[in-house]
């Protein structure tokens, strides 16, 4: 099996991820932050260490400002619902995932907020000046941007947009689902107010892990409240990080794996991982463009994208192509709308969507070649007409 669905989740994971989870499962087992026996201390240390590793990766000074969630969708929901109030206005882009758009539209439908959208071009790229145009005219509380699209792989210039947002008194929330671990994400020099990430994609951890960094000074309300192991004498939720946002038992086994994944990324180096993934991406794009009937989407420049590539094969529905790739060529990939309808509207691929190859740090050139051969065969075959 050739796995090209890394934008959905990474596979395989480094063996260290499994080993860390197995070690927790067999030798630690206890909850963190509730008790003082040695097993519980080990669990608390493990959670602390994962937080510290993430802080190092994202250049965050105080790791207590990182809260753990079950995925980036939960992180975005906390940021959006916890920060926005009735009457607030938001700017976002036409390249957002439903993990951003659904919580925003929900608040909009209830008459709580107003949304302004920056339209990306056909390659999925946004012009930062388009944010400035809106921010000059409207009082915007929050700018929400997808750091890299899960459809086109296009990257937004986060630092430039953050600077524009701050110049106009707004805050910025970045969705780093497709960049954390695959592209440099620097919360400090990027001047990011809130950074949502998932653990199971390029951070190489297991599903069920994610997080949200919240800069000091941002007033945020939690989505849920409950036991935290702190301030237990009070029936009022703690008002300090990270406890305020981590009610209930944490996914400690998942965080053990996430810590090992982040450690692997730090040791290998994000820039090395990116270089390797982009080499495969460039090779794929260059050769796929030569195949008759294959239409590629997203930016042509490698510095404007991550290793996520959408394409279509003429006379072949994306779902059919993905089925054929799996059945006849043993290639796993995703087809359809990738939970981002507005991004497909932007690149002109509604309603059928696209086929998506997303390369990871464990893919190699031989696999990409097999992928290209498969596309060439499918584009020639009569069965594409179904």
């Amino acid at each position: 099996m050739i796995y090209f669905d890394h934008a959905a989740t990474s596979f395989p994971k480094p063996k260290e991820v499994f080993e860390a989870m197995a070690d927790y499962f067999f030798n630690i087992g206890a909850n963190n932050g509730r008790s003082g026996y040695r097993m519980a201390i080990k669990a608390s240390e493990l959670v602390f260490n994962t937080r510290e590793l993430l802080a190092r990766l994202f250049q965050i000074k105080d790791s207590a400002r990182i809260i753990f969630t079950k995925n980036v969708t939960e992180s975005l929901n906390i940021a959006i619902n916890g920060f926005l109030e009735k009457g607030d206005q938001v700017v976002t882009t036409s390249m957002e995932h439903n993990s951003v758009m659904r919580p925003l539209r929900y608040l909009e439908q209830r008459g709580q907020i107003k949304i302004f959208t920056v339209q990306a071009n056909r390659e999925g790229l946004v012009d930062p000046e388009a944010f400035a145009d809106i921010l000059k005219k409207e009082k915007i509380k929050l700018v929400v941007v997808n750091h890299a699209s899960n459809v086109t792989g296009s990257i937004v210039p986060l630092e430039v947009i953050a600077e524009i947002a701050h110049r106009h008194g707004s805050r910025i929330l970045a969705d780093a689902a497709q960049t954390a671990g695959a592209y440099p994400v620097d919360a400090a020099s990027g001047d990011i107010d809130m950074l949502a990430f998932t653990g199971h994609k390029s951070l190489l951890g297991p599903q069920g892990t994610g997080g949200l960094y919240v800069r000091e000074g941002i007033e945020l309300l939690p989505l849920i409240r409950g036991g935290t192991g702190s301030n237990s004498e009070k029936e009022i939720q703690p008002d300090f990080f990270p406890d305020q946002f981590e009610s209930g038992t944490l996914n400690v086994i998942g965080l053990a794996g996430l810590g090992a994944g982040v450690k692997y990324v730090l040791e290998k180096g994000v820039s090395n991982i990116r270089r390797q993934e982009m080499k495969l991406t460039e090779m794929f794009i260059k050769e796929a463009a030569k195949i008759e009937g294959v239409e590629l989407f997203g930016p042509g420049g490698m510095d404007q994208r991550v290793s996520v590539v959408s394409f279509n094969i003429s006379r072949c529905a994306p779902s059919t192509a993905a089925y054929l790739l799996d059945k006849h060529f043993d290639i796993a990939c995703r087809s359809g709308l990738h939970c981002a309808p507005s991004a497909h509207s932007t690149i002109g691929t509604l309603p059928q969507g696209t086929v998506r190859f997303a390369f990871g740090c464990f893919n190699n050139a031989a696999e990409v070649e097999k992928g290209l051969t498969a596309l060439a065969e499918i584009s020639r075959k009569e069965y594409c007409k179904e």
Partner: protein, 72 residues
Amino acid sequence: MPQAVVIVFKSTHDVIKAKNELAKACIAHELIPTPKEISAECGMSLRLEEPLLSKALDLFQTAGVRYRDDLL
């Protein structure tokens, strides 16, 4: 035998951070369940010998460890 003091922290995150800071500075300490006479917290606290307290608190200040000075 010097008297022991117990330091209570805001969050478990700070307990572990404090423990790491003390270990780095070779200051003897022990993690214990928070004694109920001090606080109804259900988490952990840190015990060390009284003469080491001021050095420990200096370290915590520098590292940004949040401890409960109201319970000292």
